[in-house]
Symmetry: D3
Subunit: 254 residues, 6 copies
């Protein structure tokens, strides 16, 4: 793409899709998108679209037996034609791609960061994030959507009497957003055309209290300094606050 | 499920979801559901929901080089929580499950049955059918939806000048439907609760002309005779005619 | 091969190997071909040669525990040089080929269609069909031979007192044959030169009573209509009756 | 088995199957057992039965390109019920078992030890040894049978004009036999009941000239000394001479 | 371990191994530890011991052809008994573990962050980091050691005339260190006993200029705030400066 | 390499590295090279360098349950750049290479040949031999080093009271050495340049008593006769005696 990613209009920096540098893309969170899972959320962030399901499973893995504690884990994948070029299925290749497994682990850690495992009892919630369309920010959209599916699965279990009526299983909200430096300008929530040209790219997972659960910043194409880091973290804090408002609105419905 | 699958009302056989024995489920075909693929169709048949994409790829596999002929192939998979119990991902298991591969081959054969490969030139169309929710009939819904995605990919290529303006790449329509014998009664289009109790289960792939491309009937739980076969084929002919009408309506839009 | 597959002699259709259109190839069934398995049959159908063994195994898979029911399953494979071109071993490729797994599942379903699992108790019979030479019809020869091996394994178990003296484990015979349309002419029992040029190819598994357990017809290279289907099924009925006579003769010996 | 492996009759040591300690089992070598391969031999040594095929393949692996030299390699496998207990297929397990690969490599090295690669040109002969029934000595029977199949494949290529009319592709014969120490007594050609109780077990591959190509002796269950080694090698020399006579007789026919 | 990880002595915080909170473990960098690789470094950081080799390979992967640019990539693994409990080999498990692949990717990105690919020409340097003993910080020790091996490989290529005499292939130094919060106290360079109890754990990759190439902070066991983040980054800056001094000293020798 | 492997000096045969034909390379055995394993030995034989660890694991594999007997098994691998050309990791290839598995099995058998399993109780010792630098003789160095690690693991268990104070777990010493015929001259302990040109190559595993546990001789590039075999075995006996003296010296040191 030879579009101009960053334009300056009246002295203000603007982006090729018209957003401000500190503005997230339009986000739509649809709960109960499919009916089988205990939690099922379709999250759309710009053109990125991820189906996040949460499956309640009795019992925990062997290494967790007799701990009295539950467990939450996640798997992330893309359908082959989520991307502009078709990608080979992991199942055909014979193993989960490193990138997929790395993101799966990130999603799991992010959600576990707000879970009280004692309140779950010895049960598991398995999160599946299947990217149906990818336009940047699929891992952060997965976390943001999976949190909502996780809430629904917890409430399902509460209604079934599988967890205590007044147990606080989720200690806080959790959401994630990307930030990056494009042509020297720090920006919030990068779609693919921006992401692929960013010198620095960072994913920031934050709680409702504004604390960090995970920061993953990489600058393979140009190291960044402490000042840039601080600007990026400010942007991420704003973006996560916006997302968490949308999560709350989605959860208040129905 | 101990629901009563077949009720007799005034001498007529009825089904647990109120359909007649020769009635298909409500079907919705949404084209362009995602924007990256050359063809992208979300097909919903009752609660079964499949994303069918068609990817145009220049060139053909090595064994097809210098033949002047194109190729069409397909891959079928389910997201883990398409089903009421979560199923393990093929990628985690390390290979494509036999069932998935068998269905992938069926979809590919069914579509190839109406393709004129010479008209395609040495190009491939890769079909991906990802089941997002499964309630019986996922393989037949995949074929029915994939045909529409295939048409869109062919037209995309025609507009790009990749195939001749007036070439007839698709010689006919193709759709598929299941039929089966439940408690002795032949029926059309079985959702999961019926399918799982059927003595005989048959998938029938037919062209717009009403010819057969594939018949796969299995009676592990009770052999069937020639009369039953004939009744089942009559039902399948009606069901496929209904589906093909819906395919045409979807393709006439926009 | 540019041999003439179909010749017309005196107004009658004849085949390149001299058979009539409704004639099966010479079949030889050798029981006890190896001595270790509970059932061991070498079946030769024309040049196709398959070693079918039946292994009695105490106990059933986990999902079948405490059901009081037995289980029958099958695996199909070819030695690399069963074919005119050597094919790579599945073990070297790292997984069972889709085709092999599909045929394995077909053989298993076909045999299970005549088994009374309650009469077996919680035991398994594992069928292995290893194709030593392939000249078309390997899957149908496998089913036909495996039935005989299955009978021998059941009788072995009966003699050992592992199943009741008068239990009817096998409710009926089962055999399979291919039919197809070659240059417009429906024919019975296709060897490889015919099979590879057939427009329509169908495998029909039938019981001794003449009922269907499985019909798999595919017409990737030219859809077929209802009349052709009926002719093919008539041929299959004749072929299976002939095979079942040979099965009975083999089982009467010794 | 609690049979008495070694009986002393009139001061002489005898074996449970009546053979002398320096006597090989009855061997039957059937050439052209299947018709597709360039060489196809069924070798039976006692109850051990191996199908050895030799496939002529034009061209050599990449690392051998432009060397002017041919290549010979081998693969060894067992059908699941070759043994008294069924063994899982390598293809199901997902990789070639270490034992199979080890034996494949041994067979390949043994045959290559007598091949003049320059005389073959840049062509390959692929040997497949599929054990249909296993009663000890499967790897040595494979080598002995594969040599005969190799001769037939070479002669096939000579007749086709693919190798020079008077080229000596095979510089010598090659055969193999097992020897071992049972209850302190060195013996020739161990069937499974003897092999499984042997303290020392050795496979000896020899040329027609009586030289060694491979010696593999293992004494996991009781180290052996130099005198025992010498006795074992004397037995192996006799056994290989006997086998080579049978190879020559088989090759002289037709 | 129920040792006291953090003790307070005279108002100052001390650690179970006596270090100050801002003190790295003793580090030893041995160049040319093995002789085959172009770069070969044994790095010891406390009890952690990693063999880092750099292999110069002519040519680049296919996707990089004709770019005029080189490539650097890395693989990370542990010997099974690097850890207190033996871990299964990835090769036995049948695929690279997610953790190993994730670390491999991190090492690769970190080194690529300082490489000028144009100066390398179309060549690759493959880094292998094999952990021989693991006591925390294996991924950061790998990066720190691999940088030194990378320098040696570049100089080897320069001496061979494979890269230009005065080309600046490495634009800067790179090293990495872990930081974390233990019982509320931010600390530098965590050995395993500290690492396994840390609420927050962060790996920081920095250049000689003090810029960031990668920050990976995770707080599965207790989110952290901005102030803690700042303290951790200050510690990491000190640790990396110390490590880079040791890298320079090692490279000045011989 | 076109170096002269064998020179004749004053009528005596000498080797390119100056050794006599019956002389082993300098060997250094370092115990406790890493601290986590129960036995940890770095063995250096010339430029060959292998890390041998012995891990004590409670319990035995399922097939050994309730036998009262222990088990010893081994795994062998190379780091990718142990060799002059980098080799791909088995874990990346997706399975253990045949060569690695074959050597793993050899090491296991060799060690088991001197173990009294009853004295171990139902426990396992897992040997890992990781080749850090390869210059010929890696499998024999692995056996020789692993024996020392095994002794240390047994003594560790004895001190922990896991095996009886006076139990003789190891009935004898065990070591291994290679011999071969280079340009017609039998020689002891071949480094890679000699090994790769040897016509005959043999690995000989011997006990302290001078008995054989394993003989693996292969002559793919030129069969050998009985006289040559005897000379090779004499050389191997001398080499193993030398190695066993070094093992004892290493074990006598604290």
């Amino acid at each position: 793409m030879d579009i101009q990613l960053v334009r300056t209009v009246n002295g203000e920096v603007a982006r090729y899709d018209g957003r401000h540098v500190d503005e997230i893309r339009p986000v739509k969170i649809t709960r109960h998108w499919t009916s089988a899972p205990e939690g099922s959320v379709l999250i759309e962030a710009g053109n990125t679209r991820v189906l996040c399901t949460a499956s309640w499973v009795e019992g925990v893995p062997r290494w967790r037996h007799d701990s009295g504690l539950g467990w939450v884990t996640a798997e992330y994948a893309m359908v082959p034609r989520a991307t502009s070029q078709r990608t080979q299925r992991d199942s055909v290749r014979g193993h989960v791609a490193g990138r997929s497994e790395e993101i799966s682990r990130l999603i799991g850690r992010s959600l576990r960061g707000v879970v009280d495992f004692a309140a779950m009892g010895e049960n598991q919630i398995l999160i599946d994030c299947d990217v149906l369309q990818a336009d940047g920010g699929t891992r952060t959209a997965s976390i943001t959507g999976a949190y909502v599916a996780l809430v629904d699965a917890v409430e399902w279990a509460r209604e079934k009497g599988l967890i205590a009526r007044n147990a606080t299983v989720l200690r806080d909200q959790v959401s994630a957003i990307s930030v990056g430096v494009i042509q020297g300008v720090p920006m919030l929530d990068l779609p693919y055309p921006e992401d692929s040209t960013a010198g620095t790219d960072m994913n920031v997972v934050m709680t409702g209290e504004g604390k960090f659960i995970e920061i993953q910043g990489t600058a393979e194409h140009g190291p960044f300094d402490r000042d840039q880091l601080n600007t990026l973290l400010d942007l991420a804090a704003k973006g996560n606050a916006d997302l968490q408002k949308l999560q709350r609105e989605a959860l208040e419905q129905q």
